[in-house]
Amino acid sequence: MPPKEQLLKELSDAVVGMDEDRTVATSQAVLENGIDAYEGISQGLADGMDRAGQLFEQEEYFIPELLMCSDAMYAGLDVLRPHLKTVADGEKRRFVIGVIEGDTHDIGKNLVKIMLETAGFEVIDLGRDVPAQEFVDRAKSVGADFIGISTLMTTTMDGIREVFSLLEREQIRDQFRIMVGGGPISQGFADRIGADGYAVNAAEAVRVARKLLGSD
């Protein structure tokens, strides 16, 4: 196996293996061998996160494992990102994400953020316990392509509907693709409130977002 492919494979393996130190060392080796930082990110780090996402969906990995993979991935990103030649930030799709007001459970939302960032989205994280109006205001001010709303509690599902009504009141609903998710949310609920997409987990969220982009 040529050194380049081998190094990229090692980088991907280090991420899947939850090994932060090895990810950093391999990222440095990638640079020392004159491999393009972008390739290191896309074919090494992101590939590793992709595989971690698959293991998560197959119930080989659970949330602690996925979080450790993402720590390794971000540590590698810190090494490689300064060496990116030109950052095509203008190309990045903006994704405003948050947990709706009334709920402070944000583990799922954080996982979606990690997977979206890995997949090249620019994620604007509003955090947890976010009022409906703030989703609207921030999505407008940053020129978001997507709004992602999550909740783990049935108590707060009405707040999600409110984001839709606020956008409709301002007649700007069509400017955004809206994705919803979280424990009590189902495809049926997503359809009823008129969401563009629903994802059952973080890995699925990336596929749904990409599919929505493809349907432009």
Binding site: M18, E59, Y61, F62, I63, P64, E65, L67, M68, D71, G102, D103, T104, D106, I107, N110, D129, M153, T154, T155, T156, M157, D158, G183, P184
Partner: protein, 365 residues
């Protein structure tokens, strides 16, 4: 008034937990994470949240209102999951009438930083004695109705005092400190449960929404959840008390560990097929699991049908599957409780005595 077919509500619930023959399954809503302090109830009585979270008399009044209006056969306190985290140092947003209290910020950024406080100091802080005093009022006022003291589980409480993302990683990365922090939290929860039993609660229910198979996976569920839940369970048993554990979410990945949890009953979420769980592990006393989504948005006849189905399936204790929305209509909850109470006495319940012929039942009109 609380005596039906010769059994009081208390005798029926305690009976099923002690594997005795009873006439039909009790229908309960334990409180805590799974409480029925819905807006419909509060609007009728004026005993309101968030005030009742911090006032023992109001807490007892509201628990009594919930009992009298919903038809659930128990009294349950408190109405949140934050009592424990608050005294351990986290900042709480107390919520409002329709929105339950939540953690505003966790006290510590990692398990290594968890500073141990003196247990006596913890037990005299925050709302601990509010809950204990409310228990005493209820136990005195309703001798025939089981009073359930709800305690937040070890994993969820620790994840409410340590940044949860960091906490979940440290379950794998820094096991020594993770165990140290959870052990400290569990010891405090043991003392809190003991205090509630001393103040007259009939039993303890543990809600531990972070300790799920979906979040932890089998490895960490066994290493942390089962181990510390059992420490808490053994403490309650040693004090002569009864204890129910509720497991949130899908239990598929951790199903083989469920029988290792030594509680007197296991309650599960809506997606779990309790009938097959019981078939697989006949020794389990099962509780659940009427969809809270159905309770909030469904029609009363559909809800009654589902409640009947649970009784027919031989589920030992009928309850909502998880936390109820505060906007759940009272009419829907009544449909559930009345449907269970209508079930005839030929229900052959009691997990130890289950003959397999408990499928026959009639509706008494």
């Amino acid at each position: 008034m609380s005596t039906v077919n010769g059994l009081t509500a208390r005798e029926r619930l305690v009976g099923i937990l002690r594997h005795r023959q009873i006439d039909r399954p009790p229908v309960i809503c334990p409180g805590g994470m799974m409480n029925a302090a819905i807006v419909d109830v509060m609007n009728r009585t004026g005993h309101n949240l968030p005030e009742a979270h911090s006032d023992a008399v109001l807490m007892a009044e509201l628990a009594g209102d919930v009992y009298q209006q919903t038809g659930f056969e128990n009294l349950g306190i408190p109405f949140c999951l934050t009592v424990e985290a608050e005294v351990l140092g986290s900042t709480i947003n107390i919520g409002d009438l329709a929105c339950e209290p939540k953690i505003a910020s966790e006290a510590f950024s990692s398990t290594a930083q968890v500073a141990f406080k003196d247990p006596d100091e913890l037990l005299s802080a925050g709302r601990i004695h509010t809950v204990a005093a409310a228990a005493a009022i209820l136990a005195d006022r309703y001798p025939d109705v089981p009073v359930i003291g709800n305690v937040t589980g070890p994993i969820s409480t620790t994840a409410s005092i340590v940044d949860p993302m960091r906490f979940l990683k440290e379950l794998a990365k820094d096991k020594a400190n993770a165990h140290r922090a959870i052990s400290y939290v569990t010891d405090f929860l043991c003392q809190y449960a003991q205090l509630l039993l001393d103040h007259g609660v009939t039993l303890i229910t543990i809600g531990d929404p972070t300790a799920t198979g979906e979040i932890l996976g089998p490895r960490f569920f066994e290493e942390y959840a089962v181990r510390y839940l059992n420490r808490l369970i053994d403490t309650v048993h040693a004090a002569g008390g009864l204890i129910i554990v509720h497991i949130c979410g899908n239990i598929n990945s951790v199903k083989n560990f469920i029988p290792e949890i030594r509680s007197d009953a296991i309650s599960t979420d809506a997606m779990v097929n309790l009938r097959s769980l019981k078939e697989e592990y006949p020794q389990l006393t099962t509780m659940g699991n009427l969809s809270t989504y159905l309770l909030q948005f469904g029609f009363p006849d559909k809800i009654a049908t589902q409640a009947h189905r649970l009784v027919q399936d031989g589920i030992d204790i009928i309850s909502p599957a998880c936390g109820l929305s505060t906007s759940t209509p009272l009419e829907n909850i009544r449909a559930m409780t009345e449907a269970v109470k209508e079930c005839a006495s030929d229900f052959a319940g009691g997990s130890a005595s289950d003959t397999g012929n408990s499928m026959e039942w009639e509706v008494v009109r």
